[in-house]
Symmetry: C2
Subunit: 477 residues, 2 copies
């Protein structure tokens, strides 16, 4: 196993090394594309199941819309196509035939969904329509960074249609809260929720809301978005309904999405110099059992198999690493790299004493509480509480980092200095004007991440105009 | 609600009408593509969860490989590309740029998986590799028939690599058995399992095995396949491993897939003139409660809500249809069309008598046992046994049909007559020669479906050459 670079020395190098060496992904022989390997898919499946359950609990159903969108349909919503056309991959040939019209591989599905909703929705009785889909999408990218920037990626996209603006706004807020909950309570990644500025809004939306985490290098990472599309798509694609009073009305539509980018946030937030640290609720493997054989191992073999069976029966996601060709030390490093929350070590002497050594991945080597001896008879009952503690401690560490790196200022020079130095989330009263945001971007590379409440001072810190919002500025991924 | 055509009068018309009117799918504004609507997705999600659980129990993990495959890689396996090139959709432009090389949208993923396995597999310790993926694939088709023939479809494809031919053969047989079990025990569709003939084999495989159902029009429907790829892909894509004796060996690889075509088999097999009949294990909704309100409904409203809550608490997939705008009769027809296995009706008089009327979808109208009164207090405990009975009765009906339409003959004239008349699966001793199969196809439109055991007579019924196999011939979808 190669050593991974130090996380604090070079986050980007560390990140790539961890993603490849922990076998989350492999580079594919296709520009900008990655293979999601079984361990990475294990993370994605955990995220999917947590999100999908919440989508269904909030009344949504899954569906599947086609991959390809004819150019003529795509081009109808002017603002939308302008935003997405530069990054579309086009199908122009099918079998041996040149196509009469180019077909876009979906970069997102508002267009095709809009066309179908126009057909499906007739009456107020058909509303709301609450649909989600789990799909691959494609945005032509030159650079590749696992989970953060790839030409093809996996995500879910929710698309809903409502009778009133108020209902659509409620939906958008509800799903943003689902995203916040999954980011914080499941992935252990603390985020700020708020509205995106006009420049950072989704192409074709009236309002875009986001969750934004802060990575260890002081750059923000947008991890999910939720959009009020107003009646824009409804007008373009003719999504109308007969109201109770028999008038014909346009629907109010929304869309919202979270992609495997969330996994990138999780990896960067929690990892350390030994590799991944995965919050237990997201861990494909919560517990790994590593026997330490010496001399006659027949009793030890039986004991670890019995322990493994008890963990399984208790519903734990557990692995027994009884590979013959590798030393225990090698295995410890490998499971540390893979970020498994709890390791149980058992040697012959432990077995005689009736104990196992429980090692927590959230603690540093030799930190208090990293290792403890637990009676073998009680270890399975003991584990859920420890997993709970690890979940909380990883979140708490990240939350402290976010709080320590959220900096409020009313001084323009300090504001610019903090942004240039990637000091974190810089919280200032802001005017809301696109030209002000563009000037800050030119000067520092930073933009607003999101806006969360009315300004707490009269003047915009960057430009001095009247302030409207309290905004988080930061450099971002 | 429009009436659907009679199933026996025109299966094809009936099938299309049911698929669209039961809201399983919609036509999309993209040639050859369909939208899978929430109810259709509900079926697919049931199938996915049944298959995925079995894949994991047999040691497989999920992963995700890229959608696009560069033409140069695709072209390496000559037989494979010859089979698939005529139906590939090609990406030739990305953003504003013409690509130097065409990229195929995967029609199947042996190629890209092969390239990655060559990278991942070094030593015998890395074997076996047992991976599955759930993805969309594309095969350029002009005609569209829901679930049976569409340009884009959803499926799973398993890809495994092994050290020995025997292990690969075992894997292929194991997954064929998983498919048989899911087809028969979950979807209630009886199938024949066996090997495909040389002409019907997967492009690039050494042996292909299939499960084949028989539709009510006497045509067979191939519902899943499992392939021994031998060392063909391993040689082309250089998938090698260092054996224990230090020699370099090529792997033996397999692939196996089931698509949403299985849903087409389920629909055609079980449906009747009133619409779908869904086996309970596949039903997105197992039970629908329809109140029959008259006069003061407050007591009835409370009772149905309480019943709904009890069904939910018992883990049943249940819906309460308390829509105000529709009559009970309209609702009965709609849920019949959608094939929900059990309907519970409750009116005010039932409520006074403390009963509900339980209606079974597997029985004809007014057939013995179609309706029965069940005490409200016991109905939830009563339902699982009825679901079990419905599951069995649908399978038994289909099994009887398959048996009645499996016809053995040793007479050539009768053989040809049965095939031309779409009499069903025609079971004959066969030589195994491609030219014999081609002649039968020319004469009747039928081909071998699969071969299951050594011939039970000396001579091939179609051509008189020495017989090797007992083969099922039929026209097919």
């Amino acid at each position: 196993m190669e050593r991974i670079p130090s996380k604090s020395a070079d986050l980007s190098e560390w990140y790539q090394a961890v993603c490849y060496q922990a076998e989350l992904v492999s580079q594919a022989p296709v520009r900008g594309c990655l293979v999601l390997r079984p361990y990475g898919m294990g993370l994605w499946e955990r995220l999917q199941s947590e999100l999908d359950r919440r989508f269904k609990e909030t009344g949504h159903e899954n569906a599947y819309f086609p991959l390809l969108i004819p150019e003529s349909l795509f081009a109808k919503e002017a603002e939308h196509v302008e935003g997405f056309a530069p990054e579309v991959a086009w199908v122009t040939e099918g079998g041996t035939e040149k196509l009469a019209e180019r077909l876009a591989i979906r970069p997102t599905s508002e267009v095709i969904v809009g066309v179908m909703y126009a057909e499906w929705i007739q009456s107020y009785r058909d509303l709301p329509v609450l649909i989600n889909q789990w799909v691959n999408v494609m945005r032509w990218e030159k650079r590749t960074r696992p989970f953060l920037r790839t030409a093809e990626f996996l995500w879910q996209e929710g698309h809903t249609a409502h009778a009133t603006e108020a209902e659509a706004a409620e939906e958008v807020a509800r799903m943003l809260e689902v995203y916040r909950e999954v980011a914080e309570d499941i992935c252990g990644v603390p985020v700020y929720t708020g509205e995106k500025s006009q420049s950072e809004r989704f192409a074709g939306a009236e309002h875009t809301y986001s969750i934004e985490g802060l990575m260890p290098d002081g750059r923000a990472l947008q991890s999910a978005t939720s959009h009020e599309l107003g009646q824009n798509f409804a007008r373009t694609y003719d999504i109308t309904y007969a109201a109770e009073d028999q008038t014909l009305q346009h629907c109010w539509t929304t869309s919202w999405g979270m992609s495997w980018r969330m996994l990138g946030a999780l990896i960067m937030t929690h990892g350390d110099d030994r590799g991944l640290r995965i919050p237990p609720k997201m861990a494909p493997t919560e517990v790994v059992i590593v026997p330490i054989p010496r001399g006659d191992t027949s009793a030890l073999d039986a004991a670890v198999r019995e322990l493994y069976a008890r963990c399984k029966a208790a519903g734990l996601r557990v692995k027994l690493d009884d590979r013959a060709g590798q030393s225990p030390g090698y295995k410890f490093n490998e499971w540390d790299l893979r970020g498994v929350p709890i390791r149980l070590e058992i040697g012959n002497r432990d077995l005689e004493a009736g104990v196992a050594t429980l090692v927590r991945r959230d603690k540093a080597v030799k930190e208090d509480g990293q290792k403890q001896q637990v009676p073998l008879a009680e270890v399975v009952e003991f584990i859920p509480a420890v997993l709970e503690q690890i979940q909380h401690s990883l979140f708490a560490q990240a939350k402290t980092f976010l709080q320590d790196h959220t900096l409020a200022t009313l001084d323009r020079a300090e504001f610019l200095r903090l942004l240039k130095g990637r000091a974190g989330m810089v919280d200032v009263p802001w005017c809301g004007l696109p030209e002000c945001e563009a000037a800050v971007k030119d000067a520092t590379g930073a933009t607003t991440r999101n806006l969360r409440r009315p300004a707490r001072a009269e003047r915009c810190v960057p430009c001095g105009e009247p302030a409207r919002w309290q905004a988080y500025f930061a450099q971002s991924y």
